[in-house]
Symmetry: C2
């Protein structure tokens, strides 16, 4: 069985989770039925439960797995011995990398986490708040030492954060745009602004 998995590369559970992420992205978590999902993996709805515990468990796995990806990226960035501007650039790169690497999963994570029930909802919110605080601390560091303009750190955090959300709706692997090209465009806009200096 382990052999079989390692040949195919993916367990049935993983296949179900990936199909679910696609449906969650297309129709939303609530509008996705277990029968939709079953059909997508050529199973009857009841058979899904041999591989997963519940519909919400799938969502939970997606949300926390992506939360962890962001937090691991943050960890690395924090350890950089570099100016705040380089750290923020690295975080922009991180967001784009995650978005383009596994866009369906990250979209479900981003848009559907509110359908988590307690206590997972609170756990998730805490995870997210933690990430945001660390991001904001880097922005504040840059403002303090004069690298950044003296903008409101919270508004700046959220504007940067949000500014890449369109990738979740728009990006498909078929679009032959490299993460690096996107990074170039987005980081220039956010760091230097749209307007040409005279």
């Amino acid at each position: 069985m382990i052999l079989e998995q390692s040949i195919k590369g993916k367990s049935k559970k993983q296949l179900i989770s990936e199909a679910a992420a696609q449906l969650f992205r297309d129709k939303g978590y609530t509008a996705t039925s277990m029968r939709d999902l079953a059909e997508k993996v050529n199973l009857k709805a009841s058979s899904l439960y041999n591989h997963i515990g519940s519909k919400e468990e799938i969502l939970r796995d997606i949300c926390f797995a992506n939360g962890q990806r962001f937090n691991e990226g943050m960890e690395e960035v924090e350890q950089l011995h570099a100016p705040a501007v380089e750290k923020v650039r690295a975080l922009i790169r991180l967001h784009i990398q995650i978005a383009t690497e596994d866009v369906t999963s990250v979209t479900a994570f981003n848009d559907e986490w509110r359908h988590l029930s307690e206590p997972y909802l609170s756990d998730f919110r805490q995870l997210r708040r933690n990430y945001e605080r660390r991001f904001q601390a880097i922005i504040e560091e840059g403002i303090r030492n004069g690298e950044f303009k003296a903008l409101d750190p919270f508004a700046t955090l959220y504007t940067i954060f949000s500014s890449m959300r369109w990738l979740y709706d728009w990006y498909k692997p078929e679009r032959k745009v490299s993460p690096e090209q996107l990074y170039e465009q987005i980081s220039t806009l956010l760091m230097s602004g749209l307007v040409n200096e005279k």
Copy 2:
């Protein structure tokens, strides 16, 4: 009856629509039941149908009303005899104004339009594409005449667009932040960038 409405200021239909927008924002369109909505306006579910045609009709009204607000704003901006940079600033102000004026309605519009059925879904997409194209044309104008950096117009459009989406999640009238303060922060970041020029 007309008198009664003009004293209260709002028709029952409007009250239902506003309650629905709040629920759509909190739980999403699909997860909002007509029984939830009925309870919120102190009615039985069946009685809602004396004021509205269907659940989707409510969503439809919200989506197209907000679409119109954006398009009317765009109309005004296009008629400005001003450099592209002023037009983009005016559009940023427009997005912030709409977001803070009626945040529940605009959030439902933004997040739930995909639950529209045909032919409304196609109509909506066209309305939106039209708005985006006009926004992009202004960006291209600014690039052409050297006001803006030579970034990719599409990526620029979407990054600016997206960058204000956090207001839909975060903003509440109770937060005593003025649209003008938000405009100051966001437009500075997008137009001039986060980094301090030396």
